[in-house]
């Protein structure tokens, strides 16, 4: 593998995924270093009602603090915030989390686009966004905003994604800074530590 590019500064990492992304997350989380000094936000499509399941599953595999995001909560370094089922997650200028129960976007709530776009406005060129496996096009518009505001775009290699559609859409419509296989993602994230 060629030398992986990393951004100069990362103030927040947002990971979006849909069908097939859980496997990737379960692969990434055990290898994340405890020294991670930025917040990580997860936006994944899933059914409402079993929120704590994903939180517990990921928490059992990492030393980082994993929690479901609460509204108006400040984002702390080294913490993982999961967008609650059935709410969009937005980021305020003061880097707190806002939740929003407005219309679904791309048939999804939470929508990855909504969080990527909102974070792009706040973190600008200090934002890293990753789009994983999935079977709809949510996330693509958001990645365009991330690109435009100077953020860093990472897309899962569609060839090794369980559902290649979502990452493929991103590659077709946005210029990712890097395309990664799932087994290289933890290493990439650890390299964001400054």
């Amino acid at each position: 593998m060629a030398q992986t590019l990393t951004p100069e500064k990362c103030s927040a990492l947002i990971i979006g995924g849909s069908a097939g992304s859980l496997d990737v997350l379960l692969q990434i989380f055990p290898d994340l270093k405890k020294e991670i000094n930025f917040p990580i936000i997860l936006v994944t499509h899933r059914k409402s009602g079993n929120d704590s399941l994903l939180t517990d599953l990921l928490q059992s595999r990492t030393g980082l603090d994993v929690q479901e995001a609460e509204e108006k909560e400040p984002m702390l370094k080294g913490n993982v915030y999961i967008a609650p089922a059935d709410y969009h997650l937005l980021i305020e200028e003061d880097k707190t989390i806002s939740l929003d129960y407005s219309e679904k976007v791309n048939y999804s709530r939470p929508s990855i686009d909504v969080t990527f776009q909102s974070a792009a406005e706040v973190f600008k060129d200090e934002l890293v966004c990753m789009l994983l496996s999935g079977s709809n096009a949510d996330g693509v518009e958001g990645l365009k905003s991330v690109n435009n505001s100077g953020g860093f775009v990472v897309v899962q290699n569609p060839n090794t994604a369980i559902m290649p559609y979502m990452p493929q859409q991103a590659i077709d419509h946005v210029k990712p800074n890097v395309i990664l296989d799932s087994f290289n993602m933890a290493e990439f994230i650890n390299k964001l530590i400054r």
Partner: protein
């Protein structure tokens, strides 16, 4: 770097106009959300410039109606969060049933789905006759819809599932008649509802209630405004009355939170 469609300063300008010209105060709404709603409307309605958008909002009353409807979130459903309604049915309403008269306020009722859900619960507990549901919203046009009690038929399957999951045992379809693409809910349910505009930001307490429902409204407010609204609810709630919030909202960081006791694990608090 491409600039944003509407920047933060322009949002402030718009919201100040809206307050000055129309008397609606959105300045303490949570910024990210309101900005997204405004940007969305600007794009949706194909405005060519911010100046034109601003002018239309200021001077066109008809368009302002649309603005108001579109920047406030009016997404709601019947029996949303079934476990919440189960708790209302089993823990809260039976207590209120011991009172001679029950006054309930649904604050931010939008198109009325919660008020009708509540009326169904009251009816099943034989309490509807002695209840009054005050359903209020900032937005007059959603109240017109709420009064009609007609909801899109294609949502009813989901509502019916929610109803069953909340502990409902009746045939849900007995509460409405299908009329083309709409389900019209029984008028006995709305006979105990009073609809009125009320702005949580600027209007005062107007009665004393034993139960206030305000779910998924406060998430759109900043912390300070949330606390002002909690004070308004406190002023409007009888001793031992209940306050119900949305599944991601909480009374916890409010100064008077100690004067309230949480009911089990749901977002329901009882005033001590």
């Amino acid at each position: 770097m491409i600039s944003e469609v509407i920047d933060n300063e322009q949002i402030e300008t718009l919201l100040s106009d809206v307050l000055e010209v129309h008397g609606y105060d959105f300045l303490e709404y949570s910024h990210a959300s309101i900005k997204r709603r405004i940007t969305r409307l600007y794009t949706l309605d194909n405005f060519v410039s911010f100046a034109e958008f601003r002018y239309t909002i200021k001077s066109d009353k008809q368009y302002f109606k649309r603005f108001l409807e579109e920047i406030t979130v009016n997404v709601t459903e019947m029996f949303r969060d079934p476990t919440f309604y189960k708790s209302l049915r089993n823990d809260v309403l039976p207590v209120l049933g011991t009172y001679p008269f029950i006054r309930i306020w649904v604050a931010g009722c939008s198109t009325g789905e919660e008020a009708y859900s509540l009326a169904i619960l009251l009816k099943e507990l034989n309490l509807l006759q002695k209840s009054l549901i005050y359903a209020t919203d900032i937005n007059p046009s959603v109240l017109d819809k709420a009064k009609k009690g007609m909801f899109p038929l294609n949502y009813l399957k989901g509502y019916s599932e929610n109803y069953v999951n909340s502990g409902g045992v009746k045939d849900f379809s007995s509460y409405y008649t299908a009329n083309y693409s709409l389900a019209k809910f029984d008028e006995s349910l709305s006979s105990k509802m009073i609809f009125s505009t009320h702005n949580l930001v600027s209007d005062h307490s107007f009665n004393e209630f034993q139960l206030i429902l305000c779910r998924n409204v406060l998430i759109y407010f900043d912390k300070e405004l949330q606390h002002k609204v909690f004070q308004l609810f406190d002023n409007s709630l009888e001793k031992l009355g209940y306050l119900a919030l949305g599944s991601k909202e909480s009374l916890d960081f409010w100064t008077k939170a100690k004067e309230y006791k949480r009911v089990k694990t749901e977002k329901i608090w009882r005033k001590l």
